[in-house]
């Protein structure tokens, strides 16, 4: 029951979490570590091997997304197979990715200060991968962080590094309805447009994969297909691993459909100059056919890939 309630609140936060946070609503989630569904503090971390893996979930989700049918998670399996201690983050995925990046930066600094790990692995699903990139960027620009030198690997599972087409479609529909509603003085069309526009900052950041405050500050969030991204370089000290999935096993269909939400070129970070993003190295990329966007957060085949990456020195 509580599990379902937490998930429902996670979904609500993804949809309108910026509104909830602005109104200081009790349903707004604050970024925290969780274990067995309950918040824990960084002081409670017990990582005997000194290696921790921090799992960051995606949009409209909670840490439950990592759970396989048999109750195992990538975290529990990594702990059993490689003695890597898992830490699950829960956060308000409706906030700007840059805001969540700053919160993750603070949380990781707390973890480094309290648990004194010798290595931190960062693993993000979907939007969670972008939050990880935002956090590393904030830490690199700010400097003086204890946690950043401890990160050797970051793993992005189905993260839309170049944005998500579904959000771009939402942007176009809203823009069209708002224009038609205003021109025809049609209140119902205007109402529908304003309802579509209520989607959270987190969702709108996925349009082009915004990572920094400068990407959205002083900009109209509903402007038509306006890419204001500022390139965020890949930190050379971190090895960046990517998992992309394709719903279809047919190569042509796979190219268009991706994993149903994120196309392969976005999940694999194959950037062109107009994307305003660095291109990810392809040697640490795995493309899995026949899997959907949510499935890759709890899949044995994906775990085998993750384990092999985590075991690499």
């Amino acid at each position: 029951m509580r599990y379902d309630l937490d998930l429902a609140i996670g979904v609500l936060n993804g949809a309108i979490g910026d509104y909830l946070a602005r109104r200081k609503n009790g349903l707004a989630i604050e970024m925290t570590l969780v274990a067995d569904g309950a918040p824990i503090s960084a002081k409670q971390i017990d990582a005997p091997n000194g290696v921790v893996a921090v799992f960051v979930h995606g949009l409209m989700s909670t840490e439950s997304v990592w759970e396989l049918d048999d109750g195992e998670t990538y975290g529990s399996m990594l702990e059993r197979d490689l003695a890597i201690h898992p830490l699950f983050v829960r956060f308000n995925s409706g906030l700007h990715i840059s805001d969540n990046g700053e919160a993750l930066d603070r949380l990781l600094e707390e973890i480094a200060g309290s648990a004194h790990p010798r290595e931190i692995l960062l693993i993000g699903h979907s939007l969670g991968g972008l939050v990880i990139r935002a956090a590393t960027h904030v830490a690199a620009v700010g400097g003086g962080r204890a946690w950043l030198p401890l990160v050797k690997k970051a793993i992005y599972v189905g993260s839309p590094h170049l944005g998500a087409p579904l959000e771009r479609v939402g942007n176009v529909i809203h823009w069209g309805l708002a224009k038609v509603g205003a021109a025809a003085n049609e209140p119902i069309t205007e109402l529908v447009a304003s309802l579509i526009s209520m989607r959270s900052h987190g969702v709108k950041d996925l349009r082009f994969g915004n990572l920094t405050k400068q990407d959205w500050e002083d900009a109209d969030p509903d402007a038509l297909l306006q890419n204001r991204r500022h390139p965020v370089p890949l930190l050379p000290e971190i090895r960046h691993h990517l998992v992309a999935a394709t719903l279809s096993t047919d190569p042509i269909a796979a190219m268009f459909l991706g994993d149903a939400l994120v196309p392969v070129h976005s999940a694999s970070g194959r950037a062109e100059p107009h994307h305003r993003s660095p291109s990810f190295p392809s040697e640490h990329l795995h493309v899995l056919p026949g899997k959907n966007h949510l499935q890759i957060a709890h899949d044995r085949q994906v775990y085998d890939i993750l384990r092999s990456w985590c075991a690499e020195t």
Partner: protein, 107 residues
């Protein structure tokens, strides 16, 4: 844990009140805007213009008053719910003084 549940319940009530008030405003705007066109057409007919204007004003007033009542009741229910939750929170405070984080394991 009780404090976290109460905070969520408070948030749920607040969201329900916000949704009711926001929805009422949106529906009021639609009802007034939609009625404006036929009223304007009828008001252009000289013989019935005067009584139609009266009906138009009465209609707009009726719609505004109805939705103002809905919003007032929603706001009132929200206030009562807050008071009830405040009382419950005060009574449960000694039993649950934590912030929701688990106590560290130890002797």
């Amino acid at each position: 844990m009780v404090r976290r549940d109460l905070s969520r319940l408070r948030g749920l009530f607040s969201l329900a009140v916000d949704a009711t008030i926001g929805g009422s405003r949106a529906i009021e705007k639609i009802q007034v805007d939609k009625a404006r066109i036929p009223f304007h057409v009828l008001e252009a007919v000289p013989i019935i213009a005067a009584p139609v204007k009266v009906v138009h004003v009465a209609y707009d007033f009726g719609v505004a008053a109805t939705h103002a009542s809905i919003r007032a009741v929603a706001g009132g229910v929200g206030e009562v719910a807050t008071l009830v939750l405040d009382t419950v929170e005060q009574k449960s405070a000694p039993a649950d003084g934590g912030d929701g984080a688990r106590a560290p394991d130890g002797p």
